[in-house]
């Protein structure tokens, strides 16, 4: 019993359009996040995540509109991350129709933001996104992993495992752990990092970065992930949500 391991496709959205190639058949407009979210919902996605990579204010307004139109037609949970800096940003996204909101850089700069959001909206809306990598030769942390910013380009020297633990303690309802080393490699999730974070965090853990085969998802779930997130393998049609779930089911993992 208990909840099934969730399979979550992630879409990068810039000013209302999906960026990074999406290779979906039977879609009139594969660049439309609303249509893609609907297609993934129909294909069995347990949630859909939008990562808003928009930098401009006008683009952000477009994002709110996209979130609203998605919530109107897609009846599975929708998480939106990217550029969230204040509780008011969270409020706007929730009002637009997001169910959960991802916070990343702003929480590293000001960890109290996590508590402020959790107190106002409840922990269940707050996903702390942790972009982590193995420490290079010039950085030392207790776990050997550090938090990065700017899409993995900048190290912070902050221990990634400790940061995840602290984030949950401050009120994050979920941790999205993204391996910047594995991201884009399709060589598999960073299982060691998943295990280390799992050991210190008792809120749900979403593993991200490195998925290439259905077996990789099985490994991540076995390492302790409550949910697995991927982008390109789904967008390029390398794997379907159904294939991933079948592999997990075959391995004895509960899926929806």
């Amino acid at each position: 019993m208990g909840v099934a391991v969730r399979v979550i496709p992630c879409l990068d959205v810039d000013a209302g359009r999906v960026v990074k190639g999406v290779n979906f058949v039977d879609l009139r407009d594969a660049g439309d996040p609303v249509e893609l979210a609907r297609a993934y919902g129909a294909a069995g996605a347990d949630e859909v995540t939008f990562l808003d990579v928009t930098a401009s204010v006008d683009g952000r307004d477009t994002t709110y509109d996209v979130v609203g139109r998605t919530a109107d037609t897609v009846f599975v949970p929708l998480t939106v991350g990217g550029g969230v800096r204040t509780p008011d940003d969270v409020d706007r996204l929730l009002r637009a129709g997001a169910d959960k909101v991802g916070v990343n850089t702003a929480a590293i700069e000001r960890p109290e933001l996590i508590a402020e959001i959790a107190e106002r909206f409840g922990s269940q809306v707050l996903v702390l996104s942790v972009d982590a990598r193995r420490c290079g030769p010039d950085t030392v942390t207790a776990s050997g992993y550090e938090v990065t910013t700017h899409g993995g380009k900048k190290g912070t020297g902050i221990d990634a495992v400790e940061w995840a633990r602290r984030g949950a303690e401050l009120g994050a309802g979920e941790i999205l752990l993204n391996s910047m080393d594995a991201d884009g490699t399709t060589a598999g999730f960073d299982l060691e990092m998943i295990r280390e974070v799992r050991a210190v965090v008792d809120v749900p853990l979403i593993a991200s970065g490195g998925a290439g085969t259905a077996e990789h998802f099985v490994e991540a779930a076995r390492a302790g992930a409550d949910a697995v997130l991927a982008a390109s393998v789904f967008h390029f049609g390398t794997l379907s949500i159904a294939q991933v779930k079948q592999a997990m089911r075959d391995a004895g993992i509960e899926v929806r």
């Binding site: 599975v76 909206f121 269940q124």
Partner: protein
């Protein structure tokens, strides 16, 4: 025949946009408002709820929601509570050691779930009683839960059906793993008052069908 009118109570809490669209999607007319006359007289009332028990209660009282719900139930008019909108139907809630009074339509306490991973987040199976109307055709489906607290007991009306009063139908679910699971109330059907701990408006086709089943009781 006109489709039934559902009021989604607007008191500042809950993912109301999704609730409104989902109920529209299954064929009801929907109005989102805190207007008492509309809320009291609509064919059905949905009480959404996200966040903390005490904050939700304060919000409800701010629109005199307790009277609206009370008047509806005295007249046998259907009410559907969702998530914290279900939790506040119980006698009390305990969050972070703070005890708050609920609307007390059902005895029992809403308290922290005892599971290895909390919040209990994701799609879970439910254990549906016979004769359930809400879950008709949905006994083997999963629904989307996101909550840290729950009613771990349901003390009301466990006696045999007397024929005059119908015992509440209680649907259960479990959080956690096979080794460490915690049973909690996933849904209740008790005369005009129904409620779900999960989010039917976020539970895909199964959730929409459950709402369809509820809407079908309104006309």
């Amino acid at each position: 025949m006109t489709s039934p009118l559902v009021c989604v109570l607007d008191y500042g809490f809950g993912n109301v946009r999704s609730a409104v669209r989902a109920v529209e999607h299954v064929g009801a007319r929907v109005v989102l408002t805190d207007d008492r006359a509309i809320a009291e007289n609509a064919d059905g009332l949905i009480v959404p709820g996200v966040g903390a028990f005490e904050a939700v209660m304060t919000g409800l009282k701010g629109v005199r929601g307790e009277q609206v719900i009370g008047r509806r139930l005295s007249g046998g008019r259907p009410v559907l509570g969702i998530c914290v909108g279900m939790q506040v139907m119980f006698e009390r809630g305990v969050e972070h050691g703070v005890e708050s009074e609920g609307l007390d339509h059902w005895p029992g306490t809403v308290e922290k779930l005892q599971a290895p991973v909390v919040p209990n987040m994701g799609w879970a199976q439910v254990d549906v009683p016979a004769q359930s109307v809400l879950f008709d055709g949905l006994q083997d489906e999963r629904f989307y839960f996101v909550h840290s607290y729950g009613a771990r007991q349901f003390p009301l009306g466990t006696t045999e059906d007397t024929g005059r009063f119908r015992a509440p139908l209680v649907t259960w679910s479990e959080a956690g793993t096979a080794d460490a699971s915690d049973r909690f109330v996933a849904a209740v059907e008790n005369g005009p008052l129904s409620a779900t701990q999960f989010h039917p408006e976020k539970s895909g086709e199964a959730g929409l069908q459950l709402l369809r089943n509820w809407v079908a009781t309104l006309s």
